[in-house]
Amino acid sequence: MMRIACPNCGLRDEREFAYGGEAHIDRPELDCDDQAWEEYLFLRANPKGEHAERWVHVHGCGVWFNLIRHTETHEVVAVYVMGVARP
């Protein structure tokens, strides 16, 4: 079980958080083609290494944020607030 630094509350146990999937996925416009929509819905990176993802402090302050996690070691490389580009 990891420990995650909530941008508001600091270092807390993973059990207080919920995972929200890969970060930085742009929602296409309504007139996009089928392939763009399919990629938005279903295609996700699956790296062996650093992965940018969304988390929410669901049993805490409720904030959504991004973090970068190493998928092999589970090292949390960076935590950054929503709306900021991947460092």
Binding site: P28, D34, T73
Partner: protein
Amino acid sequence: MTGYRLSHGGGRIDRGQSIDFSFNGKRYAGLAGDTLASALLANGVQLVGRSFKLHRPRGIMGVGCEETNALVQLEHGLSSIPNVQATMIALEEGLVAQSINAWPSLTWDIAGVNDRLRGLFSAGFYYKTFMWPDWHWFEWLIRRAAGLGKVPVVPDPQRYEARHVECDLLVIGGGRRGLAAAAQAARDGKSVLLVDLDQGLPSLEGVRTFEKTAALGVWDHGFVLAASEGRVLHRIRAEQIILATGKQERGIAFANNDLPGIMLAGAIGRYVADYAVAPGRSGIFFVNNDLGWRSAIEAAQCGVGVRAIVDARPQVLPELADRARAHGIDLFFSSLVRSAHGRGRVTGVTIEKPDGLSRLACDFVGVSGGWNPASQLWTMAGGQTKFNERSQSFQPDGLVANVEWAGPEPIEAEPIWTVHGGDEKTMFVDFQTDVTVADIKLAARENYRSVEHLKRYTVLGMGVDQGKLSSVPGAMILAETIGAEPGTLSASKVRPPFVPTAFGLIGADLRGERFRPRRYLPAHEWHVREGAVFEDIGWERPAAYPVGGEDIQAAAEREAAAVRSGVGLLDGSPLGKILVAGPEAAAFLDRVYVGTPSTLKPGRIRYGLVLNENGTILDDGVYARLQDGSFLLSPSSAFADRMVRLLEDLLQCEWPMDVVVQDVTEQYAVWTVAGPNARNVLEALQPSFDLSSERFPHLSVREGQLDGSEVRIQRVSFSGELSYEIQVPAGQAVQMGDALMAAGKPYGLVPYGIEALEILRIEKGYIHVGTDTDSETQPGDIGFGGAIAKKQSDFLGRRALTRRSSLSPYRKQLVGLTSLCGGILPVGGHVRAPSGQSGGFVTSSQFSPVLGRGVALGLVEQGQRRLGEIVEIVSLGRSWQARISETVAYDREGGRLDI
């Protein structure tokens, strides 16, 4: 001859304190400080169990958590715990234990015949031998004969608890290295926790110590689970972890190496030194390393008869040889034990010496095939290992964040895994699961060349000891067999828990009522008083209010009929209540709902659907516009929490707009008054607003006073009748319920539960998302295609509705289904398609008291254009004729809503 208690020594026992216990129905006496295993050995009990598959007689082999044979069923009052290692049980007065897997008794075991049929029980025998004509012909016999302890018949009466612990440093293992590391860190001012499986550890200044505590596994970021005496679960978070878990001895595979009396050499040393227990009077040690010698010499020094040491190596340190000779021990170098002899226990061995074979009598054998680091927790933490040639073992290697390996120096050992020349079918590698050298070779011939495949095919290392003794020898023998370089195949992956652990401990206190908190309605006591029968559907909700011996179904039908003919009262408090406010609230909700909330006038209510981005219906419900910039959403009870999360997700991550969301679901109780007389009931309570349809039409909301209380009333209906949902602060729920009951008395008002509500909504074709829809259902499938066509802007899931699959004419669509005989169609029954396959299914079905027949909803392929068609519905071998009909079975024009 068998084991006995030595007249002196024994660092752990108290000779002044005798303890009575029972094993297999016979009474014995041990001493305070004994384990069940040491007490059994001291009492001369050599046969303690039968093996898993072949039912061969087995004795104690080890002294700690590596024990593979001595599994017992521990009877403790009401509880009966299967498969406990006798070496891990502290002896207590009155302890009752039994051998497992022996039937009808340990000494006369019928299935012992399996041993003579062992050719049949080779690796993969399940897959090969019993396939013809049918596995089920044999299953009962195999289940009876193979297996471990008995599953307890009563719920585990043990109480478990969980604690959270934090520390700067966690030291696992209280040996010399662990104690030194803990003491040093404490001197450096760190908060230190030391855990050890054993007891009697020295107390160290500034170090918290948990004895009789097993670390079960190491997870991310310094998280460790540990179990104290199997009853207390510690959830430990450590900044730094030191693994001082020591080493574990391994055996050597020779013929009949599983006879009772054959033990690990180090275990013998421990029994002698700690418990003053000798395993016999005349022993032979078969070793490939110096520590094996030390065990033999230590035993001899304490007065145990050691006859010979057989070492695979050509020589040892002169000091060791001299000390052994001084105790009269015969020494055989460059020699091996080829096989053991005896019936039910070891009585002798055949030794293979450079000058030939010879036979020696003995009554116990100590084996030391080298030492492995106890690296299980290291690999669980993600650590790598590297083959160490000198010790023929896999040593921790590399780095793991926050985890440090502080294991012992590797012990030099001769590579000797099997002694060739005997019957390989009796050379055991994993004793508990009866995996032999022959099984490993067979698996290799059948191309199971990875240790993980070997493990699963042969069950090597799958016993409760998790291969502590067997996985390294198994990997080495496999490598030898397939001609791989030694050390290129490492032992199979070890997983938590490190020692056998009760499921109850993992759940700890979160059992029974505490597994999930019950959610009670604010007026729960009121419902109890009214005779409700409750159902737990996320909330404790009244299913019905039976009277005069009615069952639930009869009560629900009576209640539903009363709503149609008079008036009923439902507690709808679990309904979601979410306030969405702000200058951009309307624009935000336009992106959330299929409909267009921004066109709604203040004071009015509309029904809407919420989709996911795949176009699937997530929820349905009404939303009210309270003021220009404020909405009250009413998602269904089961979706309320998820709706709040969804809105927060969208606002924080997708569309940062000037909007706030507040969940007020639990702050208000909701009383629904429904039926032709609903208005009369409310009129009797002095409403501060006009209830007439002209001033307060269907689908509108009013705030004011009712019976002197502040209320918000929504005129909406899930029953098809004139209906008011009255929201009051949760604390006034009972008071308002009483007032409504009193006001409704002249009109025959009855309380109704969710079962009656189910009848009413099916009669009206009102869907329940997740029941009448599934993960493919889109708005067009339930008749909302038009609403989407009208809307210009984007909303959740809109793009998905234009994919080819969404536009297919073959989609399943919601329809009514009417049984031709008037009966009740089975929920889940399938609509037979012309192809014979399923062309849809029944989603909801009930008896309608007002129509006097069954009513049902279903998802049927192309259903909306097949109205009137007669279809066959099949379920569990029965069949029904039904007509595809409109979803609304009662009051199709909706006139009853508008009175």
